[in-house]
Subunit: 222 residues, 2 copies
């Protein structure tokens, strides 16, 4: 059995899009459109139109665009964690796992064909370009209670625990990894659009090296 199910909090949809054909097509087309024209320019009307369906049908699955974005980004973090867990099985020490985790944060991964309606490569680009928008709102506290940010939090915990294996005294595991995950995304964005804010003209390899050094130097006992 090749199926793979990424679980996303039920508060992140009106009606579970994974359960119907239209739902899956909505996910698929939303990812395409959002990557192509950016969150701000997407509307449910455009999504409906592109699907040869209607605005109202999209609203049946998601309350609004913000919820849709939150769904997609949570799905991505969930998927990434699964992917990391798989790769960690082949490694036997925390340092190697951390290094591999950082690579996975930065590098667009090989195709994952187990979930045909989601193009993880496009989704990764959406995460890079849009992820802070899900929490930088006045509604953050209520949405937090509804589990809008669980994916991000879990990933931070996982990586933070690896850091604690390396150095149980390290005082800032959550801060470190929320910062490193965030930097992994924004360095990709800066490399492409605002190169003066990065030193990664060499590409993703340099981002990985920068983040790996930064992470290990922070954690290691002096």
């Amino acid at each position: 059995m090749n199926a793979l199910n990424i679980s996303v909090s039920a508060k992140l949809y009106n009606k579970n899009p994974e359960e119907t054909d239209l739902g899956k097509r909505i996910l698929s087309k939303s990812i395409e459109l959002m990557e192509e024209m950016g969150y701000e320019h997407v509307t449910f009307k455009k999504i409906g139109l592109a699907l040869e369906s209607t605005e109202a049908s999209v609203y049946r699955y998601f309350q609004n665009k913000h919820q849709l974005l939150a769904y997609l980004i949570n799905w991505y973090w969930g998927w990434l964690e699964v992917k990391m867990a798989q790769e960690f099985m082949m490694l036997n020490n925390a340092e190697d796992k951390l290094k591999r985790a950082i690579e996975l944060l930065v590098n667009p991964m090989g195709e994952d064909n187990r979930i045909p309606h989601i193009d993880e490569g496009l989704l990764q680009r959406i995460v890079v370009a849009e992820y802070p928008k899900i929490y930088l709102t006045k509604e953050v506290d209520t949405e937090n209670e509804e589990g809008y940010f669980l994916g991000y939090k879990r990933l931070c915990d996982t990586l933070g625990n690896l850091a604690l294996q390396l150095n149980p005294e390290y005082k800032y595991p959550h801060s470190l990894f929320s910062s490193v995950i965030s930097a992994a995304q924004s360095q990709q964005f800066f490399t492409e659009h605002l190169p003066r804010l990065s030193d990664a003209s060499a590409g993703r390899g340099a981002i990985v090296e920068f983040l790996t050094e930064l992470t290990l130097n922070s954690i290691q006992k002096k």
Copy 2:
């Protein structure tokens, strides 16, 4: 003479708000409203109303809300750089300057009464809550050419150069400081709203310590 003028690229406004009384009142009231209700919920109509002026008058100064936000945030980075430069004069080595810079990134500063129409404390809270929104758009490349991000870039350069004084071999000064500045903001946000993403329940002191360690450990020669 106590006056102080923070220069902001002329592409960031239609008509310079610093040059008229209404312009200054627009800045002042926009900061109040944006801090209070958040970027998304602000409209030029509301700003006009709050000023007992009109929507159209606000449009004479700024093309749209996005440009207004970019103006405010650039103003803030410019102001912070001036502030840092002042404090650096009292310090004589790069490490102390870096430490002080990180403190200033995190700590709401004492009142600065030289610019009466701008409340820097409120503005700092806007920067924490909204700053990535100015570049995370599909228009980033054209806006970049127009100087929308100069404030941020200059600050990164300044801090990067300090790092190079400490260690001329350090390979990632821009990446490091765009990440540190960004982390300084997001850690403040997380501490208040998503505490599981930080370890700073102790408050700003912990954020400063976390960032200072991270920065110095990254830069220092091994």
